[in-house]
Symmetry: C2
Subunit: 372 residues, 2 copies
Amino acid sequence: MGCDFVVTHRSAGSNARTGLLKLSGLEVETPAFMPVGTLGAVKAVSAETVWEIGFRLLLSNAYHLYLRPGHQIIENCGGLAKFMNWHGAILTDSGGFQVFSLARLRKINDEGVIFQSHVDGSKHLFTPELSLSVQESLGVDIIMCLDDVRGYPVGESEALDALKRTESWAARTIAAKKKVDPALFSIVQGSMFPNLRRLSAEGLASMGFDGYAIGGLSVGEPHDLMVETIEATTPYLPWNKPRYLMGVGMPIDILEATIRGVDMFDCVLPTRNARNAYLFTSSGRVNIRNSRYRDDQGPVDSDCACVLCRNYSRAYLRHLFQEREILGLCLATIHNLNFYHRLMSDIRTAIKEDSLNSLLKLYLSQSEEIND
Amino acid sequence: MGCDFVVTHRSAGSNARTGLLKLSGLEVETPAFMPVGTLGAVKAVSAETVWEIGFRLLLSNAYHLYLRPGHQIIENCGGLAKFMNWHGAILTDSGGFQVFSLARLRKINDEGVIFQSHVDGSKHLFTPELSLSVQESLGVDIIMCLDDVRGYPVGESEALDALKRTESWAARTIAAKKKVDPALFSIVQGSMFPNLRRLSAEGLASMGFDGYAIGGLSVGEPHDLMVETIEATTPYLPWNKPRYLMGVGMPIDILEATIRGVDMFDCVLPTRNARNAYLFTSSGRVNIRNSRYRDDQGPVDSDCACVLCRNYSRAYLRHLFQEREILGLCLATIHNLNFYHRLMSDIRTAIKEDSLNSLLKLYLSQSEEIND
C-alpha cells in the first residue's frame, strides 16, 4: 500500500500539525482542502483551472461514477485523471455516504447495501469489494473503504452496529485489494458517542491503513457536537498517518478541526456557494446579488488576486448573476476555490508560526457577516 | 467619424474580398465573424478566452444593456469593454431587431418605437437618438443606427415605409452623434424586394456612413431568397466600406454571403449550438449527446487544436452534457468559437488564393451530415 505521509511541524498550543502527503510523484501540503468533482468535473471549472489555483488533490465519487458514465468507460479512457484531464491526484469516496444520502429504498445487511439509483431507479448491490473494484478501475490515488453511514440522531446500539459493520467491511476491503499503488483509507464511525468513536478509531488503527477518515459528521448535528466528536476521535488515530474529515466545511469548521489534529478536508461549500452567488472574502461572506453592489466598481475582494478580483467589478459579477450568465458561475467558483486555497495556506503558516488562535478569532468574528 | 477600412484583396471569380478594419488601435481582418455577447458576456466563456481564440471584435446589444444593468452603470464602470474585461473592439446593435423580436406591444411611429420590456413589462420609447446615446454611453467602437425591422413575409408598401423610416432615422442618428471616435454604420432594409434593397442601399450610401449593414434577413425567409437578397444589395453599397450581414449564420450562409461581397458577420449559432450539444467539426456538425460517443476515446475533431480537442475525449464531453455539467457548455463553446475563427481564416485564405469555390463545395457536401 502506498502513500507517504510525514508530519512536518507540530503546533505548540494545540494538536494541529502540518504535513506532507506524497501521491503519484506529487506533494500535497497538509492541512489540505480537496475541491469536489463528484461526476468527474469540479462544477463550473476545468481541471486545468483547479490546478492553476494550486490544488493538487481533488475528490470524486465512486457511487456517482459507477452509475454514470460507468467506471468501465472511464477505465477504457485511461482512468479518471486522464478522463477529466487532471494532472493531480484523486481521492474517491467509497459511496457509503452517497448511498445514505441519495439512494432510495436502501437496505443494509452484512453483505453490503441494496439500493435504487437516484438517477433511474435501477437496483444495485454495493459491497465493500465492488466499491473497491470501482475505485481501482477509476485508477485513483486514494481509495476509501465502504462504510455504513447513519443519520443524526441515532441510538447507541444502532451506532455500534454500524461501526462494527464498517470495521468488518474495512477488513474485507484490505483482503480484496488488488492494486498495490493506491493508498487505502478507512472511515471512523460511531455517531456522536465518544466511547464508540474511540472504539472505531482503535479498531481501524490496529488494521494498519494508509490514512483514516472521520465519517458520519456534517449529517445535521450541532456545530459544537461535531467539534467535540472530532476531539474524541483524533487522539486514537495513529499520529503518523493523515486524518481526513469528510464533507466539512465552513472555514471556521476547518479551523476547529485543524486545531484538533485533522489534515484533510473536502466540501462542496466553496463551489456550491459560488453558484448560489455567495462569495468568500477576507471580510466575510457576501451575496453578490445584493442590490448594494449594483453600481459598485470595486473588486469582490481587494485582498484577492484571482482572475475575478483582478479583472472584474462587483457590479459586473452582480449583473452576470442577475442575468444567469454561466460566466458568473465560473468566475465565482474560481474565486471561492482561490479563497479556500489561500485559507489552507494561511492555516499551514499559522501552525508553523503558532498563531492559529488569532486566525480562529478572525474567522469567529466574521461568522455572522453574511450580508444577505 | 472613425474607422479605417481597406480592401486588401479582390477575388478573381466572385465579389468576395479581404480587408483590414482598424478600430481602437486593433486590426480586424475581414471577412470577420463577431461572437455575440448580448448581455456583456459571450455566453459560457470569458472575454479573455474569446481573445485567446483570436477574435478582436465582438457584438453586444444596446437594447439588452439599456434594460439591464442600464447603460449608465456600465458607463460608470468605464464603458462596456472595461466592464466585461474585453481588450478588443465592440460593435453594438441598435436595438431595432431586438425590439422587433423580443419586446411586447410594439408600436412604431416616426418618432421611434414604444415597447414593453421583455424582462419586466416596463414601458419604453426607443428613438434613434436614445439608441445612439446608449451606444455612446457604452463607449463602443461601432455604433449601429436604429432601424425599423419587419418580419417575413411582408408586403411591398409596408417594406417601403419601413426602409424610408430607417433612412430618416439614420439621418437623425448622424445629426445627433456627439462622440467623434466611434464608427457609425447604417442598416439596409427593404425585405426581399430587390428594387427596395437597391433604393435603401443607395439612399444610405449617399449619406456617407463608415459601414453598411444588411438587416432584415434571417427572419424566416428561405435560404435561397436570403442569398438573392444579399446579391441584390451589395452592388449598391460603396466598395471601400465594410458590409455587415446581421445575424447570419451557418458556415454555408457565411460562404455564400462572402462570395457576394460581405465582410462582417455575427450570429449566436456557434455559442447557442454549443450549449445544445452541437459541435462543428471538419467533417460536419455532430450532436455529442448521441450514444455512439458513449465510449469514444477520440477527440471531437482531430483537425482542431482547441483546448477541448487537445485534452478531452468525446466520451468525456458526452458525459458532461448527459450530466448537465457547466464545464461541458464552456468547452463546447470554446470549440465552436475556435471552429468559426478557423472558418473565417480559411475563407480569407481561399479569397487570396481564389479557391473559394472549393471551400463552398466542401461545406455544401457537409450540410446534411448532422448525425442527430
